[in-house]
Amino acid sequence: MAHSARRDSPELPDFSLLKRLARDQLVYLLEQLPGKKDLFIEADLMSPLDRIANVSTLKEHEVDKLYKVEYKPITSTSDQLCFLIRPRIKTVKWICDVANADKATGKFRRYKIIFTPQKFYACEAVLEEQGIFGDVTTDEWAFYLLPLDDDIISLELPEFFRDNFLAGDQRWVRTAGSALHLLHSLYGPFSKVYGIGRCSKMAYESWREQVAEGEQRTRQAEIGRVFLIDRDVDFVTPLCSQVVYEGLVDDIFRIKCGCVEFGPDVTSDKSVKVMLNSQDKVFNEIRNEHFSNVFGFLSQKARNLQTAYDKRRGMDIKQMKTFVSEELKGLKQEHRLLSLHIGASESIMKKKTKQDFQELLKTEHSLLEGFEIRECISFIEEHINRQVSMIQSLRLLCLLSITENGLMPKDYRSLKAQYLQSYGVDHLLTFANLRHLGLLVEQQPGETLTVMESKVGKLVNDKTAGKLTDAFSSLARKSNFRALSRRLNLVPKSGEEYDLRVPRDMAYIFSGAYVPLSCKLIEQVLERDGWTGLEEVTKLLNGNEFAVTGSNGADSKAKNDAQRIILVMFLGGCTFSEISALRFLGREKGYKFIVVATAITNSSRLLESLLDNHV
């Protein structure tokens, strides 16, 4: 399991620096409001804040009481209030209400808003409108990047996806550029940037401008290459069920900011919050493994542990003393972790057995392969009829649509009608959103050709299929999954045995059924040092690809380690499965990948962000 890494794999840069910088800046900002103050923290900033500072850090800087922003009248009696928030209009409005209520009762307080990672003019406009501008001081806490692990950095901005891709709001583009700029100035200079997607292009431009504006310094680069990718380049991957341990844990228990809460069903005691990262020795060895390998590993571990404990027997006092002082603590730690992960695996197994997971996976694999589509449709239909999880049904519908380049009009109407009957007509909005994003669409009359083309494609060789694809690519924006899959060999031929214990490619993260498109693109571009030879593929992906070299790119061509440290930025979120796939690729090719994501996502989070039945 502990894969033997290629011996020449470079070391990862130390990202704890990012935490220190963020913490120091926060401390500095708190000191701008001297004296005792109460601090209000936006709910979704609590966990990120926890990762870089703790209560005593805040107390040291005269923070008296801590509150969560709850959009209710406040009870604080302090005469200084500090608000640590995301730049959201709703929250700013609430602060205005607080301040105006104070004014009405003649209470005088000082207010300070700290926006993170930046403030927006729209928020200031609210302060102005509400007559609070000037009564409140505002600041920015440039907390762009939270390292979640040695190789994962998150912007912790889940709303990035909806704002950018659904609403078409580019407010976070500069944020992404600034995050990149920060990494560039601390771990750069980068020598090569590749990317694909409209947002990637814009983020690149924003970063480039910021580099040009600022004061520069040269240093030994730690990160040489960068790959930017938009989430909408590949929707298939995040919509698949995750079967690699870390992804599975995320799908089932929801990992929040690198931390998961295991309930009594796992611990058979009270709930416990556990940090999941490379410091957890047991987790570190199973996180990237296909779930089927996890049992074997855990059993082996349990046996080894038993043996280690058994050593005590027959020890004399002196030996016992060394055992207790040197080994026991480690063993105890391992023991605790082991029983947690065994409990988690057991709970996963139970839950998955209950919901016919095996059948669900079979359906997904058929969809990826384009095989027995009618059966898949009736499976999805039954899912809907039985009112099984609303999100799950939606996920399957989207997967069907993307892999088939849209649903046939008859199927689309019937499935949509049944969906609305089962889960409520409010979902008309959801369907409008999904259509807008191209996640769930009806085939246009002209597109039936594409269906034919994909069928023909199966019969003839790749070259002919490619030509056929060319002929049709002038049609409206489509997912083109089938054609991409053929061209990039994403779906291995069925019927071949795939040994999940000894993965041969990135497909292992989906039980050998599918190589994630996003990661395959990264692999190909790195191999070719650009997009040359991938013209057909980029055409199928609606273009927007780029590969640029910095002016000193030539001299840094010299084989240094930095060139093999590659930063991959997912705009709109990244799944744990993709991270596992990249780690695998890194081990194979002697790269080290650093994943920067606007947020960690999975199928549920992705689809939930597109629902509209709140308001």
């Binding site: 120091d24 583009v173 480039r208 520069q216 310094r217 040269t218 940090m275 490379s278 410091q279 009829n385």
Partner: protein
């Protein structure tokens, strides 16, 4: 595969190799259980020692807290090594919407005849004919008149300053042309924050007709405004904007609809929506929604009264957990199958009537009725659902749903093993049947199927799973001891046994 006695070897088929499945409770799972036991057994000995060094505190940084002074020093040190860095080339991020812009004020057209500063297009021209661009002669004021301005930034410079968070002022952009120039530069800078800021200024200083008209050809800016109005909950202006764009799709009305909580108002609102230009398909959904809500209001009123009256048995035995108002159609159907199953088709609350009115598919109706009747443990109703379609007079069970699903639904509604067994036996596929039977402890079916498969290993294995001394154990023993009772089947190495005829869809 382990072999048993040589002479019996060829009687028993070998166990089929089984790949890992998530349904597989046997091997891997029991291994896991063993590991768990092993770990648990040593727990005692761990805990006897001392305190808990808890897992929650595991942090990966472990680095001591860096001080502010440290950070300051670091920054100072790094600044000494200043030098130019590799510069990166600009890439084309032009969005198609910008170049497609067909407004008279598109960015490119403005570049043609102009220099920065105050250029004015004749107001009449812009209103009368947008396609013909006539630029008024330079009306630039003499330099001296500018001296009162603190700053004289061009639209482009202003946008740049806004991006960098520097001081700026928008007040001097008073002509429509300047305002639009400002907007177009903001859009081409791809900074949503700045685009929205300019839009807020435009919204304040332009009439909405003018603003809406100009936004029609500026999709990116338009989407930012929609998002801003949504966020500030400026419902009124948002609706006006969308209406002016003829976008009365689900987005507009949907949001409005969701904000109405009173069911009667909601119904009236829906009625008013029926005339809106939805796509024919969506308007059918809205119509259905309206009919359903109407119906729910009637049912709710009647049932609430019946429940309060305390005379109707079913409401006493199974009090309603929530009101049926605003529930999805299928939930309503379930409700009617639960509380009003026996009612004649003429009533509003009859399940058959609901089925008819909303053209619910056979399968959907079947699934829902099955679940509702099973929940009530009305097994005769359940049984009737399968046999009612029997037109030839046979008592063969038919189902629009695979029996595997039927079993699943029954089991989720906690049907007893006796009931489950009948339906498990109807599952066509032998492997599936076994796994279902195992899951639901229908021992007879498992044993019979293994017997038919002639799998000694599996039978032996299953012996350990049934209760000691039970009838099932005796049956297995009998089979294991007398395999040749069914000698005739020996040569026919069948994987699957003859299945009960069922009707699959």
């Amino acid at each position: 595969m382990m072999k048993s006695k040589a002479d019996e070897e060829d009687y028993w088929n070998s166990s089929k190799f089984k790949a890992f499945t998530f349904d597989d409770e046997d091997d891997e799972f029991s291994r896991l259980k063993e590991s768990k036991q092993a770990v648990n057994s040593i727990r005692r000995l761990v805990e006897e020692d001392d305190d808990e060094d808890d897992v929650e505190k595991v942090s990966w940084s472990g680095e001591p807290v860096g001080s502010i002074s440290w950070s300051v020093r670091e920054t100072a040190a790094s600044n000494q090594r200043t030098d130019r860095e590799p510069t990166f080339p600009k890439i084309n991020t032009d969005t198609p919407t910008l170049s497609k812009s067909n407004s008279g004020y598109s960015l490119s057209s403005l570049f043609k005849g102009k220099t920065k500063g105050g250029n004015f297009q004749s107001f009449n021209d812009s209103l009368s004919d947008l396609s013909v661009r006539l630029y008024a002669p330079e009306l630039r004021k003499p330099k001296s008149e500018y001296k009162d301005y603190v700053s004289d930034w061009s639209p482009e410079e202003t946008i740049q300053r806004m991006q960098q968070g520097k001081a700026f002022s928008l007040e001097k952009f008073r002509s429509l042309q300047d305002k639009l120039l400002l907007l177009d530069f903001a859009v081409s800078a791809h900074d949503g924050n700045v685009i929205t800021a300019v839009l807020i200024y435009l919204k304040r200083t332009l009439g909405k007709e003018v603003l809406f008209r100009e936004l029609e050809s500026r999709q990116t800016a338009l989407r930012h405004l929609i998002q801003y109005l949504t966020e500030t909950r400026d419902q009124r202006l948002l609706l006006e904007l969308l209406r002016s764009l003829c976008r009365t799709g689900p987005c507009t009305t949907g949001r409005e609809h969701l904000s109405i909580t009173d069911e009667n108002k909601r119904r009236d609102f829906l009625k008013s929506c029926l005339s809106l230009p939805f796509s024919p398909e969506d308007s059918a959904h809205v119509q259905d929604h309206f009919t359903l809500l109407e119906r729910q209001i009637i049912i709710e009123a009647t049932d609430r009264q019946a429940e309060r009256g305390g005379k109707v048995e079913i409401f006493q035995k199974f009090p309603r957990r929530a009101s049926i108002l605003n529930m999805p159609l299928v939930t309503t159907l379930y409700y009617c199958c639960f509380y009003h199953y026996t009612e004649p088709e003429g009533t509003y609350s009859s399940s058959l009537n609901i089925r008819q009115t909303f053209k619910i598919s056979e399968k959907q109706y079947f699934v829902t009725a099955l679940a509702a009747r099973a929940k009530l443990k009305a097994w005769s109703d359940v049984d009737a659902l399968f046999t009612s379609r029997n037109w030839l007079g046979f008592t063969r069970k038919k189902s629009p749903l695979s029996f595997q699903r039927v079993v699943d639904i029954l089991q989720k509604n906690s049907a007893p093993t006796q009931v489950l067994q009948d339906y498990v036996a109807l599952v066509d596929d032998a492997e599936l049947r076994i796994s279902l039977a195992q899951k639901h402890k229908c021992h007879d079916i498992v044993i019979n199927t293994y017997r038919d498969l002639k799998d000694r290993q599996l039978l032996l294995g299953y012996r350990g799973k049934v209760e000691r001394g039970s009838a099932e154990e005796r049956k297995i023993d009998e089979l294991l001891n007398n395999p040749r009772r069914s000698k005739k089947g020996r040569r026919r190495r069948r994987r699957r046994v003859g299945a009960v005829p069922t009707d699959h869809h």
